[in-house]
Amino acid sequence: MEHKNFGLTQADFERLVVDLKRNDTFFFEQVFTKQFEETMVYLKREFRADHEDAYDAAMDALVAFRLRFVQGKLSYGNLRFLFTKMASQMYLKSKKSNVHTVDNDLLVNEEAVETETREMSPEFNRAWQKLGEGCKELLTKYYYGKMKLLEIADELSKSPATVRKQKERCVKKMKELISVEI
């Protein structure tokens, strides 16, 4: 079973999800960068993808996979198959191919193929760097880690009301910093 899941045990999988919710991506990076080249070679062979397209598709799949981990949409079972299919979708989408003509099994679900901008906004980035570490951590766990305020409160040993107010203050601060940058 482990070989189908990038060598992860069930316990490793659960640890990975917890880490990613806290935006601790070290374990995720260690596991998935080992598979990166294999995925690129697969795309080059199966779809005749060139090097850069294969790289981008594999990278997009990594980012999308992280999201699915924190959303709880992935189960331990056959991560390797899912990841390969996701990378295939990313590649085909980038080529604006009609995925239906290739193989309907490739479609995990339509929403799996995302079209977000890869670059960061310079203005947002400058504002973000000026935000205090406490706020950055809170907003990252809430928005990026998809943690509920109750979960964050438990982790910080604070009341949910305190965490909610802190989040509101952080959002307000971030808006002030952004208004200076634009």
Binding site: K4, E37, V41, E52, M59
Partner: protein, 227 residues
Amino acid sequence: MKKKLHQLISPELSEKETDELMGALVTQQMNAELRQRLAHTLKEEHGIRREMEQKKGKIKYLNYMLAIAASITVLIALVFYPNGVDDSPQVLAQQYLSEQPLSHPGTFKGATVVDEQRTQAIVAFNQGDFTKAIEHFEALTAPTAEDTYYLGLAHLKKGDYSRAITLLTENKTEGKRFVQEARWFLGLAYLTQNNTKNAVKELKAINKDEWKYDEAQSLLEEIKDSL
């Protein structure tokens, strides 16, 4: 992007809209940072760059030597054929073979003896040590179609064209997975052996939407011109 930032700081935005927009922007920021970290790890720990990387070690050295050999061939042709470069199909086939990057996609982690042999074979193949790759592929007790295909390629890269032809032909007839690749490499292998008839047969079998169709057509033209 600036439009979203202006929307975010707008006092007319509701709490829900602020939350959604802030969420999207934070996600974009964190994803961009994640991509940067991943790119750095891929480059530093795995030697993988977005731009086509220069291969390291033996493979780089081998390609460098083959490139020199190809250049010397061209120079010799220029000396003995001053009216034009010898683009004989056999020379072109050799160039295609030497320039074609080949790597095995790898295998799953496992602890069995068979898997260990396969792992060793794949590592050797990807390092360009085709002798070792052949040794390990041939030690597999239950080789898959993929194993036979890469064994054939290892023989091809080593210059054992007859053995490569046997394996790739066997692989092509047993299953469809590597048919396109097998046809191309069989075409090249037959050309290096001056077996033009079989080379043409394989290259003509490559259809328009298949791998290396354009290169196959170029080679067929060269073969036609040389006859």
